[in-house]
Symmetry: D2
Subunit: 148 residues, 4 copies
């Protein structure tokens, strides 16, 4: 698969196949390095007066970029022939635990998530994630443990 094919496949999985990702409109902004984004919307707020993104939306985006990192690693390390392989790989992936540190109020128009695999295990992978607003302010960080 070419890089573009891999990006398109990841987009399909993250943006189309996972219903809740679609509801909150998570987007794959870049494949390598992997970047996900979410645009602020009135119905995603946790505090309407202060225009702050809901903590659950932040947790969702950070969890999703963890899973997306695992799919990307799978695509990069395997000769993928068709989509069913990816669906199969995805279905064997599960979040074991997820921790979010909310550092600053979730104020902004577009939020960007990045991730780094810090324990690349065969059975268990640990990933650290960061969430920024469009001004580059670090809003939240997270750590997730995943089985693969």
């Amino acid at each position: 698969m070419t890089e573009t094919e891999k990006e398109n496949l990841l987009k399909l999985v993250i943006e189309e196949f996972i219903p809740f990702n679609k509801l909150i409109a998570i987007r794959v902004a870049s494949y390598d390095p992997l970047v996900l984004t979410i645009d602020n919307r009135p119905d995603l707020l946790g505090n309407a007066l202060r225009q702050m993104l809901h903590g659950g939306v932040i947790a969702s985006l950070l969890d999703v970029i963890g899973g997306a990192s695992l799919i990307k690693r799978y695509l990069d390390n395997n000769e993928v022939e068709d989509r069913s392989q990816v669906a199969e790989a995805l279905s064997r992936t599960a979040t074991i635990d997820l921790r979010i540190d909310y550092l600053r109020p979730g104020i902004g128009e577009r939020f960007t998530a990045t991730a780094e695999i810090i324990r690349p295990g065969k059975r268990v992978t640990v990933i650290r994630m960061s969430l920024f607003n469009e001004q580059g302010t670090l809003i939240a960080v997270g750590t997730g443990t995943y089985t693969v």
Copy 2:
């Protein structure tokens, strides 16, 4: 305030004032003990084939019951005259960190969250939460640290 007035006020805050709670339809099912629920819906799934609730929805509900526990404690411990006091109290509340352990697949029709304050500090409160499906299966547990 009577118990019913307090419950109605909490319902208003949780179900109406917080936009994202409304999007995913979080409900206050009981005031004392505090119980929140969420009904499964096609657009809340993380895995459509296996009909599993998205991990971000689980994290959201657990975060929200943490905050709701703080509002309930505020209502129970203070003579609240009007809603603006509660809005004021709420705006001083923030999640510092949140940890979720995903124990079993989020399969079910209705999910129920309960919470217990395990560190009732003046400045920092730690709360443990649990999420069950309608058959009483424990799906996830969480711990949140909140400032008040």
Copy 3:
């Protein structure tokens, strides 16, 4: 193996084979239910004026009871013939992540830890632990994720 033989084997592993457990004098007080204890000592304090147990000692005891729970489960579920099997099982066990909530000052003469397996996975097990002083005051709780 009889219950007593299993208890003696667990004692040997926890109290004798693991050097740091010996340094801080962790004891197996009961096999079923599993209970570990540690006695307060001047050199285990984090705050000598206030006679508080060091947070690292609390973390250590909670981590150890997580590992001990896994060994106990192994002993209960397998026909163990000799010690080398247990050593082998132990060497495949590792803590992936550990989270401690410090709820109250670690004041007391004897600290008691208990544990509960909340996600009994084949590859990944999640365990919740609690630490009490001799008056039954809950001092700290923890959650650990382990590979097995």
Copy 4:
């Protein structure tokens, strides 16, 4: 206070005043940037065969560098006249929660911890820590939430 006086005061607090730090021989290797070290010793092992540092020792060192970061910040931001002020500041500091991710086996001769304040709150501070061996291998990372 000069930089050297501040470093000496921090050394005194971390290396001498806290009994358990003394037992496991935690050292302040550098004040700015703040670096703590611990030398491997037979009685600090969790697995004698594989010569691995005990997970509780790792958790201890990471917790201690979190607290040390708070003392350093206090020394840097206040005109400290005498030691009793620092003791007073220290006694108001407490770990709320601590999370450790064990990334690789704790193999090495000298372990080095560094820390970064990621949420510099007035009431609650969140700190991320890292632990390396003498070859620069990242062994563990942690996140702690502290009241000040």
